[in-house]
């Protein structure tokens, strides 16, 4: 788990396609003439026009206040659809968002606290190109995958928890890494629940000193198993972990996943997890089972790509080719470290091999970061 912005995802945020904040530079010459003026001060947020037509909309935000401002477009449930940060005092910023029909709240947050005065706007009509049915289908299939992965993870975690509670250290060590596969494969979605993720997947090194006494989750058990060699007294953490995973499953049921943010950006996020946590060996400090997580992260990203592949091939064949090559190379390298149906301990992977893995992850992560743009087109 990495510290990540916690999104307000309670309730059904059924926005799917409209996330697409569009490009200010390419195809919309003259957008500025149609720009909707937003005047922000430290205490007000005036929008020149509140009845808007669906499609790509350009907002021109003038910050006439004394603090750095942030402009947010909120869905009816209060979750953030898109935002433009760091608008300095006495400066203007242009911001392009594609909006479907519906009601939205535009919020100016002086001091960038996420709070501030707002104006409600109504969008009517049908945005051109909105809702390619294949994208909605891909998103639905992805949700099925996410749930299946968490279900599988739940079953494996159940077995792991049982071993911990039985005090069977050897068995628990064997079951630890497999218990995390489901979670890791859909981590970018699963970790959205900002209250659960830190409880389940926090690393000790990421905690503030005052948070350490409340540390819990997989990595606490990892440390007990590998460093202390005993899980005595840790039963309650095992129980809590399973309970939290069940809660993740319940909440996931209510989510509508978005092909841009949850899938494309999520896949990129999974590769970031690999690049910053797994390649360095920081994720599994004690168990050194990083390559198991590594594979699960990549598998989750691959699933996203597989579901979106027909669309990517159609819209950007070169990107599809780079992604094909990128995934293939990562899997080939990972295979070199397979051992007994799993992977070698990461502390046995030398610097030269880590460099190769890191290069392959960068080679895949860069084209993967372009997936969102292609899907959002």
């Amino acid at each position: 788990m990495r510290a990540a912005p916690i999104l307000a995802l309670t309730g059904v945020a059924a926005v799917s396609m409209s996330l697409l904040t569009a490009c200010g530079g390419d195809d919309d010459g003259g957008a500025k003439a149609d720009a909707i003026a937003v005047t922000a001060t430290d205490k007000s947020c005036e929008v020149a026009k509140t009845d808007l037509t669906a499609g790509k909309l350009t907002f021109e935000i003038s910050n006439k206040g004394s603090k750095v401002n942030e402009f947010e477009v909120l869905r009816p449930d209060g979750s953030i659809l898109a935002e433009r940060e760091n608008i300095g005092p006495s400066t203007k910023a242009e911001f392009v968002v594609k909006l479907d029909a519906g009601s939205y709240t535009l919020l100016c947050s002086a001091g960038q606290t996420g709070k501030g005065p707002s104006t409600t706007v109504t969008v009517t009509g049908q945005a051109a190109g909105a809702g390619d049915p294949r994208l909605a289908k891909a998103a639905a299939e992805y949700k099925t995958y996410v749930l299946a992965q968490i279900n599988d993870g739940y079953t494996r975690t159940e077995a792991f928890v049982a071993a911990v509670k039985a005090g069977d250290v050897a068995k628990a060590k064997e079951l630890y890494a497999p218990s995390r596969i489901g979670w890791e494969s859909v981590e970018s979605v699963a970790e959205k629940f900002g209250d659960l993720d830190p409880r389940m997947d926090a690393r000790e090194a990421d905690l503030k000193p005052e948070e350490r006494k409340n540390w819990s989750g997989w990595h606490l058990l990892e440390k007990a198993l590998w460093k202390d060699g005993s899980v005595k007294g840790k039963e309650k953490y095992a129980d809590q972990l399973l309970k939290d995973l069940g809660e993740v499953r319940t909440r996931l049921n209510t989510l509508t996943l978005d092909p841009v943010n949850d899938m494309a950006a999520g896949a990129k996020g999974l590769l970031d997890e690999v690049a910053t946590g797994k390649v360095t060996g920081e994720e599994e400090t004690y168990s050194h089972t990083d390559l198991v997580d590594f594979k699960a992260n990549v598998d989750g990203a691959k699933k996203v790509y597989d579901l979106l592949e027909p669309i990517v091939k159609e819209r950007d064949a070169a990107l599809a080719s780079d992604l094909d090559t990128g995934f293939k190379n990562v899997y080939t390298l990972l295979a070199e470290h397979e051992k007994d149906g799993s992977y070698v301990s990461y502390d046995k992977v030398g610097e030269a091999d880590r460099k190769k893995l890191s290069d392959a992850v960068n080679a895949l992560g860069e084209p993967l970061s372009k997936l969102a743009k292609v899907v959002a087109q």
């Binding site: 904040t21 490009c23 530079g25 841009v260 372009k370």
Partner: protein
């Protein structure tokens, strides 16, 4: 090494004072003020009038690559890449993308659609840290290492037969302690600029574009130029505290450049005509022992006096070097063209300090960069002659690379087009 592969130039001194403008006219790789180059509303527009120097953009296109004869900028970021793909088409595609990015960045413009204003769900094309900074005379110079032509016995890109004879594998020189992790590379890019952030931005963005095609093998920052290719400018000092490169080949000396720096079709490899060969050496200086060395010995080791930079037995920096007046093992004497069959190389090295090592010593030295028409008669010839150099007690070569730098890019062309 630069501390003086001091190819001190014999014969009449070339010290005619030139205005910068006349110099520009002669050099062909001269400077053009940002506005005059049509940079317009780009990053350069942020530079205030009356401060033209840093805002200047060096033209990217030309017969030769910029960054060789170009007046040496203040800062360096040098990167060596391994090519990780075996796909020739993908490599060519990247070289085209790199060329487009280099054209933009050297003109003070951002890469692609810029650092902001694009889709908010997509990462920006440009990484953004150079927004608001002028072009800062950024030059980007590419070179191809032996591994591009053949690696582990494999001809990955069908280029084996195009490898120039002059692109030799450098031999082992006495005293070498080369770290493979700081040596070699299939492709090298030298980014020089007057602002370190501009140079680092350039390498970072090229590396990003290159992911999947190349991976950085090693890179080096340089903070202070140790050589000048502008003879009427003040000669910079290296970390030994000595003036370095007093009689380097001037970027305006077309005759010397043609004779010693630019490769010609007649040399064997037609695609290298107008190009040059780069030898890069990371030279660690044993700073602390050097600082404890007496002034007299320091001056004997170098062969120049410390304050003025005059050759031993002379009064002024630019007085002719009389070899017989220098100690037999003085650096300047052994590196001098007269001691090397007339060999001259164009040096544009930089001082580096990568913090300190685990023993509390400065991890510092000279990142030596030398361009020449043929390394066999240039760097290799001179470096072999330095085997008895008194300076060797205070330095160690710890990294090394050799690269064939193709000629300049014509408008609409790309880096290395003649090779592919």
């Amino acid at each position: 090494m630069t501390a003086g592969t001091a190819s001190d130039e014999p014969g009449p001194r070339r010290r005619a004072r030139m205005s910068r403008r006349s110099m520009l006219g002669l050099s062909g790789t001269g400077l053009v003020a940002g506005a005059a180059a049509g940079v317009g509303l780009d990053r350069a527009a942020f530079a205030r009038e009356g401060e033209p120097k840093a805002a200047e953009a060096v033209p990217f296109h030309g017969a030769h690559q910029a960054g060789i004869a170009t007046p040496v900028q203040d800062r360096l970021h040098f990167a060596a890449f391994d090519v990780t793909t075996g796909d020739r088409a993908r490599l060519v595609r990247m070289l085209k993308e790199w060329t487009a990015a280099a054209e933009a960045m050297t003109a003070g413009r951002p890469v692609g659609d810029g650092a902001a204003g694009g889709l908010s769900v997509a990462p920006p094309d440009d990484t953004g840290e150079a927004v608001g900074l002028p072009a800062s005379r950024l030059t980007l110079t590419i070179g191809f290492g032996p591994g591009l032509f053949e690696k582990d016995g494999k001809d990955r890109f069908g280029l084996r037969s195009s490898r120039p004879a002059a692109l030799v594998d450098l031999p082992h020189f006495p005293g070498d302690a080369l770290d493979p992790a700081r040596s070699g590379g299939d492709i090298a890019v030298q980014a020089c600029a007057d602002d370190p952030q501009v140079a680092v931005h350039a390498i970072r963005n090229l590396a990003r574009i290159g992911f999947g095609t190349v991976a950085i093998r090693w890179s080096q920052l340089g903070f202070g130029k140790t050589s000048s290719t502008t003879p009427d400018a003040q000669t910079p000092r290296n970390l030994f505290g000595f003036k370095d490169g007093t009689e380097n080949i001037a970027g305006t000396d077309a005759k010397a450049l043609a004779a010693h720096v630019w490769a010609s079709a007649a040399d064997g490899a037609g695609w290298m005509a107008g190009g040059s060969y780069l030898v890069a050496r990371r030279i660690r200086m044993h700073i602390e022992p050097w600082d404890r060395t007496s002034l007299g010995e320091q001056e004997d080791v170098i062969g120049r006096d410390k304050a003025e930079g005059a050759p031993a037995g002379a009064a002024r920096e630019h007085d002719p070097v009389v070899l017989a007046r220098l100690k037999p093992d003085a650096h300047v004497r052994l590196a001098h063209p007269d001691s090397n069959g007339g060999a001259r190389i164009l040096r544009r090295g930089y001082s580096f300090t990568d913090g300190t090592d685990g023993l509390g010593r400065l991890e510092a030295g000279l990142f030596f960069l030398a361009y020449q028409r043929d390394p066999r008669t240039g760097f290799i010839r001179v470096q072999n002659n330095l085997a008895t150099d008194a300076m060797n007690e205070y330095i160690q070569h710890v990294g090394s690379g050799i690269y064939a730098c193709p000629p300049g890019v014509r408008k609409g062309g790309y880096w290395g087009q003649g090779l592919f």
